[in-house]
Structures are given as structure tokens and as C-alpha cells.
């Protein structure tokens, strides 16, 4: 392990910054990756809590990812659009992830339930896991960020 002294304080600060960026990126990545996409009712599945049901429409693919901050990035869409945001994200940035929009206006119906069908509430389910994702990312960051 590198030893730092007063003379190379800059390097130590750089390392800390890299680690903080790593934690933000890894935890955000885990959060979005952790939301499972499950077969919906029309595909023989059911409405499972915490998942995005994939049926006949583009709900999962309607994910719109936006980065607000040092290097803003507005609105790539698609199931994996979060990857682009995470690539540019720095500690302290805000990012926004949203489903629905014009391509899947039925997103709230699926999320909160409608017409007697249960909602799957994937956003609160995922958000509650944030703390543990951060803890995991901190532990991993210590090991992998030199």
C-alpha cells in the first residue's frame, strides 16, 4: 500500500476523490441493476413486488436517465441507459432515473396498481436498498481503487 506524506498530499486527495467517485458510481449501478425485470401477466408471469413486469409494451425500455451536475447528460433512454450516466458521474452529482413518458404512459398503473391489479412498487423497493448498496460499494472501493 502506498504511504502518503505531507509532500504528496495532492496525491492522497486525488485518491480519495477517485474512491468517492467509485462509490457513487458502483452504488448507483447496483441500484439500477438490482431492479429485476420479470415476465408480466401476458407472458405467464405475475405482478411481483419490486420488479418491472415485461409484457407486451416497452416499460422497462422506457427508462430515461439524466445526469445533473459537473458534466450534465440529458436523457438517453433505454433499458441500459443508466450506464451512460454512471460513466460520467462524479461524487456530489445528482442523477434522475424515470420510467414511463410518451412510450410507456401506463407506467404509473403498473407501479402503483390500477383496475384491480396490484402494483409492483419497484422504485421504493429499490430505494430502500440504497444504504446497503453504498456500504457494499465502500468496501469494494477500498479494495479496487488504488
Amino acid at each position: 500500500m502506498t504511504k502518503y506524506s505531507f509532500a504528496n498530499l495532492d496525491k492522497w486527495a486525488d485518491k480519495s476523490e477517485r474512491r468517492m467517485d467509485y462509490v457513487v458510481r458502483q452504488a448507483t449501478n447496483d441500484l439500477l441493476r438490482g431492479i429485476n425485470i420479470a415476465p408480466g401477466i401476458n407472458r405467464g408471469g405475475s405482478r411481483k413486488k419490486g420488479t418491472i413486469p415485461r409484457d407486451l409494451g416497452p416499460l422497462a425500455a422506457s427508462l430515461q436517465s439524466t445526469l445533473l451536475g459537473t458534466s450534465a447528460l440529458s436523457g438517453p433512454t433505454g433499458e441500459n441507459s443508466y450506464v451512460g450516466v454512471i460513466g460520467r458521474m462524479k461524487a456530489g452529482d445528482k442523477a434522475r432515473f424515470a420510467w414511463g413518458g410518451a412510450v410507456a404512459p401506463y407506467a404509473p398503473d403498473v407501479h402503483y396498481g390500477a383496475n384491480g391489479v396490484m402494483g409492483t412498487f419497484w422504485i421504493p423497493e429499490a430505494a430502500k436498498k440504497w444504504n446497503s448498496y453504498v456500504r457494499g460499494a465502500v468496501a469494494k472501493g477500498r479494495a479496487v481503487v488504488p
Binding site: 404509473p108 402503483y112 423497493e125
Partner: protein
Amino acid sequence: MNSKDISNAIKARLLTVAGAPSIAWPNVEFNSSVVPRWEATLVRQRTDPSLKGGGAIEREEGSLQVVLCVEHGLGEDAVLDYLDAVRTTFPKGQTFAVAGGTITVLTEPAETAQGFPDTKTYRSPIALQYVANAT
């Protein structure tokens, strides 16, 4: 304190909200033509069973999700009245008892999301964060 205790304590408290209509709970038969109604469900995460043994829970974080359903064409007032009533019963920082512990309401009681219509009702979701700690 276990999950059932927590769930029942929160349900009981929600039933005390002034002017609450019929509430539909998960897996309980409900006549879906009853409007207005609330559809309530708990999202529970991060239960920590450590140190207690026997499946008892030391700490559970979660949220109460309620969808306020009113007739079409009533405007937003009907929904906002419900929202205010829920806020009065679940103010921020409120604590109340559960068998073997206490439940604390964490954030502002009712974070609202955009309302949307389905075929029969106008639906307005609210969320309430809680944490239950064993004593």
C-alpha cells in the same frame, strides 16, 4: 416485534385517520366498485433480525404506500383533503407503539406522486416512510 406486529400497528393507525373511506389491504377481498377507497400496501425492506433470536426483528425500515382513489371529475380537492388528513395523523417524527418496540414516521408523512386515472377512479399515490425499532 415481528413483521406482523409492525404491519398491524401501521394498519390500525391508518384506520384512525379522520374521514378515511374503506381501505383495501393486500390479499383481503374487496369490492372494487366501492369509491372512494384507499388501497394500502407496505413495502418493507432492510429488516435486521440480529441479536433478538426466534425471528424477532431488531429494526425494520419500510414505507406505507397508499393509493387514494376518488371518482372521476371531482377535481383534486377530494384527494388533497385525504392527504391533509393523513398528514395530521402521521406527522413527521411521530412515534407510536408496536408490540415490543416503537415505530417512527421518518420523512414528511405523505410524499405525493403524480395522480393518474384508471377506468373507474382517479388515483393519487402517497408514500410514508417509517422505521420500527425494538425496545
